[in-house]
Symmetry: C2
Subunit: 136 residues, 2 copies
DNA sequence: GTTCTTGCAAAATATTTGCAAGACG
DNA sequence: CGTCTTGCAAATATTTTGCAAGAAC
């Protein structure tokens, strides 16, 4: 059993050929990808299959979704022991020049003091601007 | 000239009847609204007119958009002197129970230390969980 | 008349589902 | 066989544009 298969099994996902392909594709990315990106990257696979694969991965917390305001939801791999819980929250950076969206792992997301009665479960934190690769 | 007209003029927006209606509707809301919400709230008006009104308002920084991950972009009024600049960034709270999204004006958004080369211009910060009104 | 705004229709884009065929045990 | 997965087609939802008529000055 290879590394990817183990990853899927660890998340209770049946490791089919298609899912391994999608996982491999996701692993190769430095940026978050949309369903369309995935479709273009694995052009042999069907859109709805890919859609359902992403949903399965998300549900099992292998990937997380990011709504960066570009009109298409993007996805990125979670870290090994991520549970998509408050302590796993991190920022994302959407570069308005290259239009890529990255997970900012190195930036600590501050603990957020919410008004009384509000309970944080999840977050979608997107910073927009110019990324290091586009900045002159 | 009434208050709403002044608000529009202050933002360099031609105060037409339709725009005054939309502004009034937005002012009455405690939550961010989608294009669809607006359509249903002002059911006499055409969708594309409302769409363009929102775009105009956003461009002129009278309102800001929030992508809360529900699949539809929402909009909320900016504060009087908001320029949608980094210092105007604030959190939004999306309640997964009542499905409403609010601006969290009272919570200070922390200054974010980005890696070298990254330049913040904007942000879309959405916290998800249960809001104070839904919490038992 | 000229410019800005609006309404209607339709295009473009993104997301989601139904169903039947296939894979796998 | 029974369950899970995949592919195709199509539905749904959302956003966006073209164009002509109307309003404002």
């Amino acid at each position: 059993m290879n590394k990817e298969e183990k990853t899927l099994q660890h998340r209770n996902i049946n490791p089919t050929a298609m899912r391994l392909l999608v996982l491999q594709y996701l692993s190769e990315q430095k940026k978050a990808i949309s369903l369309k990106d995935l479709e273009e990257g694995l052009f042999l696979a069907d859109k709805s299959t890919l859609f359902r694969t992403l949903k399965t991965f998300e549900e099992k917390k292998l990937i997380h979704s990011i709504d960066d305001g570009t009109g298409a939801v993007k996805y990125a791999l979670c870290y090994e022991n991520c549970n998509c819980a408050p302590e796993d929250i991190h920022y994302h950076f959407h570069c308005t020049k290259c239009d890529n969206t990255f997970c900012l792992d190195s930036v600590r997301a501050p603990s957020i003091e919410l008004p009384r009665g509000f309970e944080l479960k999840q977050a979608n934190l997107v910073i927009k601007g110019i990324c290091a690769y586009c900045n002159p």
